[in-house]
């Protein structure tokens, strides 16, 4: 696979829905440690809705599909993470709006815009124990892979690996945003739930592209 077309994207959203279904309880548990525990529920809602939206998409532009998915997520899951992820898909989709088949370089543009969009909206940066700490390394990995002329499958695998490492790294960070911020020092040692969601999103892309 040298690029991701509309059908491949629809397949990716099928994986994303299934992954969020399967990880519902895990996310609830993670978010319960220092949040309100809603994350599993909202992510399931978000990607179920996105999946349905995407399957009904009749256009040709992949960027447009990703934008639409973002808008649907915003509507279905108006929580912090729901809105941030929606913002990511929208900003990412807009960045490659007219693209029909997504090359690795376009995928890296998409995830960079995805991550930056969330950083802008969340007024955050890497190191604050958020979704960004998985997303930013993933976007960086895609950028490197693209410069190095890797293929899409290899690129996305490197990004997924980077995201999982990013999740691990959040353990040593101190939360600065949301409910978790109230715990400050106590948040050290705990994995960030939002970063985990980012890794799951990369996983969906990885599995979809691999097929």
């Amino acid at each position: 696979m040298t690029s991701i077309d509309i059908d491949a994207l629809k397949n990716i959203f099928g994986h994303l829905k299934r992954i969020m279904d399967e990880n519902r309880e895990m996310l609830i548990e993670l978010d319960s440690v220092m949040g309100d525990g809603d994350l599993g529920i909202t992510m399931q809602k978000a990607f179920t809705a996105a999946h349905t939206e995407v399957q009904g998409f009749t256009g040709k532009e992949s960027g447009q599909l990703l934008l639409k998915a973002g808008m649907k997520i915003a509507q279905a899951a108006p929580s912090t993470m729901g809105t941030l992820v929606a913002m990511g898909f929208m900003k990412g989709g807009k960045s490659i709006l007219k693209t029909e088949e997504i090359s690795l370089s376009e995928l890296s543009v998409f995830f960079r815009a995805f991550a930056n969009g969330i950083m802008d909206a969340g007024k955050t940066k890497p190191g604050n124990k958020t979704i960004i700490d998985a997303l930013d390394p993933a976007a960086k990995a895609l950028e490197e892979a693209s410069v190095e002329g890797k293929n899409v499958a290899d690129g996305i695998q490197m990004a997924y690996t980077a995201a999982r490492e990013g999740v691990e790294n959040t353990k040593s960070m101190k939360a600065q945003h949301g409910r978790a911020a109230y715990y400050q020092e106590k948040s050290i040692g705990v994995t960030d739930a939002g970063a985990t969601v980012a890794a799951l999103i990369l996983k969906g892309f990885y599995l979809g592209v691999r097929e």
Binding site: M71, P78, T83
Partner: protein, 334 residues
Amino acid sequence: MKKIMNKAEDFVDEMIEGILAANPGELATVADDLRCVVNKNKMAGKVGIATGGGSGHLPLFLGYVGDGMLDGCSVGGVFQSPSSVQMLEVTKAIDQGAGVLYIYGNYGGDILNFDMAAEMADVEGIRVEQVVAGEDVASGPKGEESKRRGVAGIFYVYKIAGAKAAELATLDEVKRVAAKAAANVRTMGVALSPCIVPEVGKPSFTLNEDEMEIGMGIHGEPGIRRGKLKPADGIVDEMLIPILDDLPYVRGDEVSVLINGLGATPKEELYIMYRWVGQVLAEKGIKVFKVYIGEFATSMEMAGASISLIKLDDELRDLLSKPAHTPFFEQKQL
């Protein structure tokens, strides 16, 4: 918890139902969503102004939807941001081709959702600009103004932007005066007792019988200092001096003053506060153009008050003086 309500989970929706029922000619909802409130009275070609925020602060936020003020408001749960989709629905309903200005307070959830709504509005082809009010000097030191929460002073931003929009000014012009108002307003508050979020059922903090907290936020965010309750003039000094020093407001300036009750504090006490505010300002050679006293941004039954000052120039004074009419705020031409 002593509240006149039915089920806690219906608190916000029933409140909105009551507001709509009491003002059938003035307010309407859009997108079949009770939480998306707009002014029925449309002025063709006008820039739309939208706000939004959590419930529990009446007349903030939807109370300022009306003629000469705001066109629409998305309403969140008590102390919770409304969703970006609700904001988008309001945006769509109030856009008349001239674009929409978002004016809201500097809170993470609201920013996130308004940014998102702006993004979605862009997809819909609606031009959106934003002005975020953050004027509570207690919530961020000088130099870190971007940390400051938006509190009662946002009233001035609404009033001034609303008056400009009513002149059929462009979106850029409305945004300019809103930003100018926001840059010239400062607020500080004091809390004497907590409030209770209906679905929570108990206060989020306690204050002893002889204590007050200077600088506390309207959701009970920690203030600068907790201490013994002082006489009114001393309480005023603790708020007014940091405000005056911040902009700063200096001899020869002209200001409008807003003394805002947080909920349980009677108007009698707000006027006792103003007595001293007026004396201090007179002594410092700061001229007072217009005084607003009452409840403009509350925290349900919290006791306490805030003082806001806005420095006026000819343009701001002129816009502040314009008439306005909403179900919660009425002003004739000053």
